[in-house]
Symmetry: C2
Subunit: 307 residues, 2 copies
């Protein structure tokens, strides 16, 4: 396949490098990493084995208009870049291409389907600990699975084929029935861990080791389950314990929102909090605890930073 | 009157000095301020006019057992000192004395009434901005009213008399019908402003100037009103706007819980949060937002402090 990676940060660098190593022709769209990729390729430091992707093994571009037409377009930029990026993906799409939304947030698949009616839009939810310590350098410390789900149920077979390609490239790729279920399941983790890590200045390990923070995690996860139920998506209660146990089993780390905050980047408050709150509210349920956390994050984001 | 001030911090120093200036014989129980009071008296820096209370104008003691028997015993220590202090007030009580509980928390009046059945126990809720920058030095920047309420309705006339004494000493002293109403009304301010000032590292002015923090204040205040309603205490909706307007009208300041936190002292999480949550829960209502804030505070209090 020809694969476009729209946004070469931690997620784009990692999955792009894995797909390139799996034999696909990968084309990176990069901004701050452009020159390093061109000069040195990508260095992947991974629990599953370090490797270097040489510069001959991919192409890299600055402007989406220059991308070659691809079979698969992976949207790996932060949701905060969408307003600019989404309308500019046209040149990267072969007729009948698949667009895989590998970012947080609700409604992006629907917007893409409206913009590109001939494309097949899917969600690709990444369960992975990956950071980008410097341009062209990706550090992968745990996991790596991408849960795939079609926006249009008719695309289920296409998603199965895509999952096989991911598996062949050494990635776990479970298939879920629909985008909403996939996104809500991911938020069971994202809503408590991301926000609390910022408000309480804590790593995942700090939160899990603290009885009051554990109560906060469980209460917020319970509210996500209740919100999902309001949308007719049933997430089993045991999923909460499973998420806690899985996180406990990993080395303590800073969730992406805390990394964004510490680096002075905008936090994904809309993509992780506001959008799901609005969706669930439209189904008659108020996610009050989630709202309190989101307002705290918004205050923290807006307050003047210490000099 | 002979007046005992049980705990000479900001509250005890301020109200004790005002009562002494009003002509009462005031006896301070002091620990860290003992020697300064003995050597230099009390210096009151006040928006209502600075004054010095000379050492001849009061007595000061280290051990409650040494206090003279008094007509009025004002419990002005932090609630965190109660386990030690409450059983040791006997010597300070004349037969039929009044105990005025000038601290945060629920159930202290009831415990005192059980310990001292012949005393008349009242709540005295302080609406005041007062700090103690150094021993023997009190800084009063706004307000000063003490809302008085009897534990036993039969003590209503006694509370009226006490209010007159406070007014004669230059203090506002509105009388409320009962302790529960008085305490719940005070929590409408205490629950949002104290906790959010710690979690968001903000002054009152920072919180009021920030739209998301204002939403947090209003949501928490609304939950206190709902909790009060569950206890059959009706607080009018307009009280929320009134509390916001009153706080806005004052110079921005750090609520007492933030001062405690910054100084490394324990925060009054039980007295301001847990006790009312338990009471309201026993009436069938769950204060979920308040609980989330309390758990955040507990996490912050327990986490290791930066070196």
């Amino acid at each position: 396949m020809d694969v476009a990676i729209i946004g070469t940060g931690a997620i784009g660098g990692y999955y792009g490098a894995k797909l390139a190593r799996g034999g696909h022709r990968v084309h990176f769209l990069a901004r701050s990493d452009y020159q390093t990729l061109l000069d040195h390729g990508i260095e992947v430091e991974s629990v599953a084995g370090d490797f270097c992707l040489p510069r001959e093994a991919f192409s890299v571009w600055r402007d989406p208009a220059d991308l070659p037409a691809c079979d698969l377009v992976c949207l790996t930029a932060k949701a905060t870049a969408n307003a600019d990026l989404l309308p500019r993906l046209g040149p990267a799409l072969k007729p009948g291409a698949t667009i895989l939304v590998m970012q947080n947030g609700f409604g992006v698949e629907e917007r893409l389907a409206a913009l590109y009616p001939q494309a097949h839009v899917c969600a690709g939810l990444c369960f992975v600990c990956v950071t980008r310590p410097s341009p062209g350098h990706v550090r992968h410390t745990a996991y790596g699975a991408v849960s795939l789900a079609p926006l249009d149920p008719a695309d289920a077979p296409r998603v199965e084929t895509l999952a096989q390609a991911f598996v062949a490239a050494g990635l776990e790729a479970p298939v879920l029935s629909d985008v909403l279920t996939a996104r809500l399941r991911k938020l069971v983790w994202n809503i408590p861990f991301n926000g609390l890590s910022v408000v309480l200045e804590a790593t995942t390990g700090d939160l899990l080791a603290s009885p009051p923070a554990r109560r906060l995690l469980i209460a917020l996860m319970g509210e996500v389950l209740a919100g999902a139920r309001a949308c007719d998506v049933i997430i089993e209660q045991a999923f909460i314990d499973q998420m806690l146990a899985v996180t406990q089993s990993m080395a303590s780390y800073d969730p992406s929102m805390r990394l964004d905050h510490l680096a002075g980047r905008p936090m994904e408050i809309d993509a992780i909090y506001r959008q799901v709150m609005a969706l669930v509210h439209s189904h008659g349920f108020n996610m009050a605890l989630t709202g309190q956390l989101a307002d705290q994050l918004e205050h923290i984001q807006n307050r003047p930073r210490p000099a």
